[in-house]
Subunit: 550 residues, 2 copies
């Protein structure tokens, strides 16, 4: 598979040739979205084409360029407009607003494509010597400003180090069920290589198609089935990094008491400590069976209780995903617009309503994966707890539909942005005793800041015996006079509510540029001091990904 | 419960009033041990009594003493001989050899007992200002030299900070299933407090009775049922530390992508980054059911395969413990000596031998714990895999016996040391594809170094989908002319074999003083550099636990 940068949008989601299929129901869908954000008409707010954008001149001088070219295979140093534009920013809302407005002030001065660990190491040496900042870039799908090609004040220029030529599988150990890959491998390529041999990593973030193994680790990401397959820190066995201070590699063992686990410093290091070049990961056998089913609850509280009892009973589920009433309504309506034939009939709707599953109902999607025996023995134990919490089984259809569409939603963002509609997401996690309070606080903060002309949807998508994540999606009418200011206010209100109610500033999106202030508050002076000291040790010139995390 | 130091042996295991009960079969047992280490007679090698030992004069001057006394509640600064002796060293073989010989050169200059986080913080401030080293000390059960009261070259004196007055439960959150304790709480007190409320942490290292929560975290320990309850890094939710640079605390959330997980730096920090004063931990409901059974295998290889297939099928077992042939033989004989009536009859033994379960047989203990349904559904799935790997069920009796005796074995060490017999243990872990090679290499190295007059026993006690631990116990005739040199050579040979065959220098004992050299090799210059930088940030005067870990 393996895309070239040229096949991907430089200012939007995914493949240029691909779009969200509205099944010819465009008018109905856009009318629904228009009403959701309280606009009389949807304005046309198309992005500026690349040809009409002005890039700042590249600050890479001929000596540095020559040194980089010498460090790499031929053709691996580029300064073309499209390459620079495609690596200027990530895929956060403010990143997209800037890209669409033609603001390429953050374009890197050059983009390099190393093809091996040693080449990455050589790039770092060149840049360290020349005082040039280096921004590691995998899929570039960061939604927190994690890949903005920013140079530090002390740096002469900034180079983006694109890892996507580092894509080989180096080893597969079927006895230990681990595999070692170069870190720039795209999600689908990694799974193809594993699944051909009967294994899976099972890490499917929404960005799966356009993100890389190294990015998953650097951002400390979570896949949609993290209940079974774990977050990146759970499946990472060992890593190899290139750092300005030299190679850093950890030993591949299942567990060790040889001091602190340094893998855990690498997970979530967001390119500021080194460039992840290789990683060994834990595999699972490809599941023999897969059971995805939906259930309705009368309230978010009841659904959350069902999740809690299931995870605290330590049942081996793969996914528990509970939408709140607004999200259930929004996606229910959206689906009905696209597939009117498959919609719940009015009679059924009346029956549901009578049973208390009307307007305020919340849908819970439960996924179980594994060998036949695990799925067979787990299903009734899960069902019992769902019924006890007041859940109503509504079958496997919604589960299939969700699995089918799960990577498609990001394709809807660009057409929304084309029509004056803003859309962003943010997420957190906390302990169970605080989950509902945190949910209400963040939702309340978003609604207060966004005003009535907005939709705020939320779900629980990752759960643990001691707590759960909360994920918020919000649509709003953009303020054409102050688009970035509008977003900053929304973000601040939500982040404040998260910090005040015991949430972490991110469960799986990461810190990047946008959460750096909140990250410092969360980790405290001692924690930040420790990380800054680690960075100073490995990157004394501060060339790695300036302005992110720390 | 909560012991005073005075109730505990200063130079041996556990409570002074307690010993290993040989059921009146002393002569037979000691004859068996004598033959195991190839001695004609067992010499008498009693330890020197404390009254006959000379302690170095305390280097705490009156100003520092006054400052410490001011920092603490009355009576919490001690310089008595027994207190100093009891805090001189831990419980490693070389520690015991030194203590028994009356070598108290490592006695701390004073012992302090802070009663709160703030008091710990104040002790650190006093010591930092006065350039006095501080050795955090919980149960003092380290078997790797982790609590030796060593001062660094730059320090005027060394104070041992005994955490065992920090023992309150601060919070129990039944919804999130977490509890927060002060870190000096003893294992039994922690479990009592939890079990009275229907919960358990489930962390039962062999040292359980005489170790503390903070020690478990600092050493990154594992309990015997770690397959179910996890190693310390798995159950730690949040920690609070006092450091010379001030308070360090982490946020209690189930999972976060707000940068690296700093809890993972705290787990395994062995007192060199700060003193753990409080910790929040994940709980489990007290298991409704518990099923411990034993199985025989014809070979270690076959038993290891059974473990691997069980953990790779992700069955929720609590414990899988496979003894190799020598360990099976040794403990089988030992048990027969103590309980001749319960022994396998000669006829049964002949039948076993005919079936291939003779001299080389290996016993596997399988523990399943949890709710009734988990135990009921897991048992047949485990059994199927055991039978497929050639295992023979031998019932629940050995399981009960093991559970009953599991904390008693350390009490046998002192009487062995009284009789010229050396005994030590060491452990490692590696990926499944290397487990058997590593087993043979370490066993071979130990046997080569120990010579014929020794017993080398081994087991797998902690397993993961990608690998397992290996635990070695060895008995040998001590060389009275060079006891420490003899141990150094044995230890070096084993550590070398571990490093050469892809093992970690410790799965759960830690690094301390004894593994520091191997730890540096395992982590590499970048890893050691990162940890040293973190230490310099939090402990710029290097007062915390000098000579350990780094």
């Amino acid at each position: 598979m393996a895309y070239t940068r040229d096949e991907l949008r430089w200012n939007g989601w995914g493949l240029r040739r691909d779009t969200f299929d509205l099944k010819g129901r465009d008018a109905e869908v856009w009318d629904f979205i228009r009403r959701s954000v309280g606009l009389a008409t949807l304005p046309e707010t198309r992005p500026r084409p690349l040809a009409a954008c002005e890039l700042p001149p590249s600050r890479i001088d001929s000596a540095v360029r020559a040194a980089l070219e010498k460090a790499l295979a031929p053709g691996r140093v580029t300064t073309g407009d499209r390459e620079r534009a495609a690596h200027a920013l990530g895929r956060s809302y403010p990143d997209l607003i800037r890209l669409r407005a033609g603001d390429l002030s953050s374009a890197p001065d050059a983009v390099v494509y190393p093809g091996s660990h040693d080449e990455v190491q050589r790039v770092l040496e060149v840049c360290q010597r020349a005082s040039v900042a280096v921004v590691p870039f995998g899929g570039g799908s960061s939604v927190v400003g994690g890949v903005e090609a920013k140079r530090g004040e002390a740096h002469r220029a900034v180079v983006t180090l694109d890892t996507t030529k580092l894509r080989r599988m180096l080893d597969l150990d079927p006895v230990s069920r681990t595999a070692t890959f170069e870190a720039g491998v795209w999600g689908p390529d990694l799974e193809d290589a594993l699944q051909r041999r009967g294994f899976t990593l099972g890490h499917y973030p929404q960005s799966f198609e356009f993100s890389t193994l190294g990015g998953w680790i650097a951002a400390r990401g979570a896949g949609q089935q993290s209940n079974r397959y774990g977050t990146a820190n759970k499946w990472l066995v060992a890593a190899r990094l290139a750092t300005p201070a030299g190679e850093w590699r950890t030993l591949a063992v299942p567990q060790s008491a040889a001091g602190p686990d340094l893998k855990e410093l690498i997970c979530g290091s967001e390119g500021v400590l080194g460039v992840i070049t290789e990683a060994t990961v834990r595999l699972h056998e490809l599941p023999q069976a897969r059971d995805y089913r939906a259930y309705l609850f009368r309230s978010f509280e009841a659904g959350a209780l069902a999740i809690r009892t299931i995870v605290q009973a330590e049942l081996p589920v793969a996914m528990l995903r509970l939408s709140d009433a607004d999200e259930t309504y929004f996606f229910g309506t959206f689906k009905r617009l696209l597939h009117p034939a498959g919609a719940v009939t009015a009679a059924a709707e009346r029956a549901l309503s009578t049973a208390g599953f009307g307007d305020g109902r919340c849908v819970l999607m439960v996924g179980i994966e594994g060998d036949e025996a695990t799925v067979r023995t787990t299903r009734p134990r899960v069902l019992r707890r769902i019924l006890r919490a007041g859940g109503l089984p509504v079958g496997a259809g919604p589960g299939r539909a969700w699995l089918d569409q799960r990577f498609r939603m990001p394709y809807l963002r660009d057409p929304m942005l084309d029509r004056g509609v803003g859309v962003d997401t943010l997420e957190t996690s906390t302990e169970w005793s605080k989950v509902l309070r945190l949910y209400r606080a963040v939702r309340g903060a978003l609604r207060a800041e966004l005003g009535p002309n907005a939709a705020v949807l939320a779900h629980i998508s990752h759960s643990y015996p001691d707590g759960a994540s909360l994920y918020f999606t919000f649509f709003f009418a953009r303020d054409p006079a102050d688009e970035l200011g509008q977003w900053v206010r929304i973000k601040r209100a939500a982040s404040q509510a998260i910090a005040e109610h015991g949430g972490t500033i991110s469960h799986h999106h990461g810190v990047g540029r946008d959460h750096a202030e909140w990250f410092r508050r969360e980790k405290g002076p001692a924690g930040v001091g420790v990380l800054a000291a680690a960075k100073a040790e490995l990157d004394p010139g501060g060339i790695l990904n300036p302005g992110k995390l720390l």
